[in-house]
Symmetry: C2
Subunit: 258 residues, 2 copies
């Protein structure tokens, strides 16, 4: 498969929406330059962003914003800029990566429902990784520690109304859209394909970015609690499968001779 053959998929992934340039850059650095001391050269970054349909001016503005936010740092060696994650940007990236890159087999299958004593602020319970079902009632993976003095429970059968109260309908639809594209990309990209390094970088970043946008919007939800039509877990299977096949290009492979 040639680089151009990827275009329909990168376009489809780009078109999924929610592609704020600064956020796209966070995904790019998170996937390609997370290692300590890693950086992306200016021309390589430009090539990747252009392939994602982002104008150079928009990339420049977004880089400026991320530098101001302390996320990215840039330095110039001769005529070439090198961009890398700051210490805190890298820490946040690593934290998020635990959920973004977690493999399907690491999904916690057992679940719990907790009932709070009513004194715990909602935000605190959510930050602990729980999803609200109703007033004072939350659900989450079994092992999760709940804040405060909660009644932790589990059961065998989960009625539909519980599954349906866990996530908004819109998130279910967004996962369905992502799943549909990932399924097509997965069918098109065979393990035997020797994709060009830049194509691999672009495809990986777009997959990670679209997945990250959804998966970081809600805490982990054990499969037994997921609503009908929920493609979150299926998306994770496709995402990890594709990232296994479309290997991350080494910096040397991406080098663009000036």
């Amino acid at each position: 498969m040639l680089s151009e053959d990827l275009t329909p998929w990168t376009t489809a992934l780009t078109d999924l929406g929610g592609q704020r340039v600064w956020s796209l850059l966070v995904s790019v650095f998170g996937d390609l330059a997370q290692e300590e001391g890693a950086s992306i050269e200016g021309p390589v970054l430009s090539a990747i962003m252009t392939a994602m349909d982002v104008r150079p001016e928009a990339t420049r503005v977004a880089l400026h914003r991320l530098r101001n936010d302390g996320w990215i740092t840039s330095e110039k060696t001769g005529r070439t800029s090198r961009h890398s994650l700051t210490r805190s940007g890298r820490a946040e990236t690593i934290l998020a990566s635990q959920r973004i890159y977690a493999r399907p087999e690491d999904t916690c299958l057992s679940w719990q429902v907790i009932i709070t004593d009513g004194h715990e602020p909602k935000e605190e319970v959510r930050e602990a990784g729980f999803t609200q079902i109703a007033h004072r009632i939350y659900a989450g993976p079994r092992g999760l520690a709940a804040p405060g003095d909660t009644l932790a429970l589990t059961g065998d059968h989960v009625p539909d109304w519980v599954r349906e109260s866990i996530v908004p309908q819109r998130l279910i639809q967004e996962y369905q859209s992502l799943y549909s594209i990932l399924e097509q990309v997965s069918a098109a990209v065979s393990p035997q394909d020797a994709l060009p390094p830049l194509g691999r970088a672009v495809l990986r970043c777009l997959i990670v970015h679209n997945w990250r946008r959804l998966v970081l919007r809600h805490p982990d939800i054990p499969p037994a609690l997921c609503p009908a039509g929920w493609r979150g877990h299926d998306c994770r299977v496709l995402v990890t499968g594709l990232l296994d096949r479309v290997s991350r290009p080494a910096p040397a492979e991406l080098k663009i001779s000036a």
Copy 2:
């Protein structure tokens, strides 16, 4: 032990309060004349009620009320009245007896907490045998079937706030008062005592009556969900132990020669 020796205990049990005469009569018939075809002769009933400090006029009024309510039926043979439960009175008595006379070893130890979908009326869930903890949240013995589409759950640890939300403080205190008297009666009445038949009848009826008043006011609560200081289960242990020792007098034993 002689009949007079029982007086402090029958007085203590009579003084526990809530002794409406018609309700006391229901306990008397429930304990002494629950068998099909069983009856209590007028003079025997008078003797029992007098021993419970109820004036004859009050007994007559209460009997009249229970006859009007279709609970009791009375017939005269010669100069002697015989009172017995009606068919429906007996049916209700048998139903209540399942909870009144249940032995401690029959207590369901495992528990469940259910969360309703919010459409089930409270009354329906309570009638099914559940106790409300909070809005849409109820608790009960494990095997109990819940109405509607509920999420049935269980767990290992039950925090104090859950136990404390299960029953009103007043009920806890009433069980404590009953427990304290039952404990003294239990210590005073040894299995070797040959109590007179009328004394046995009076003591049994007072024990059953005071126990019934509390135990029928709430559904069964598995021990793990009971609040600190809850004497409900301890009372059941004493009640069944005492009823075993203070045997029910046969009708012939109670016969009073006119």
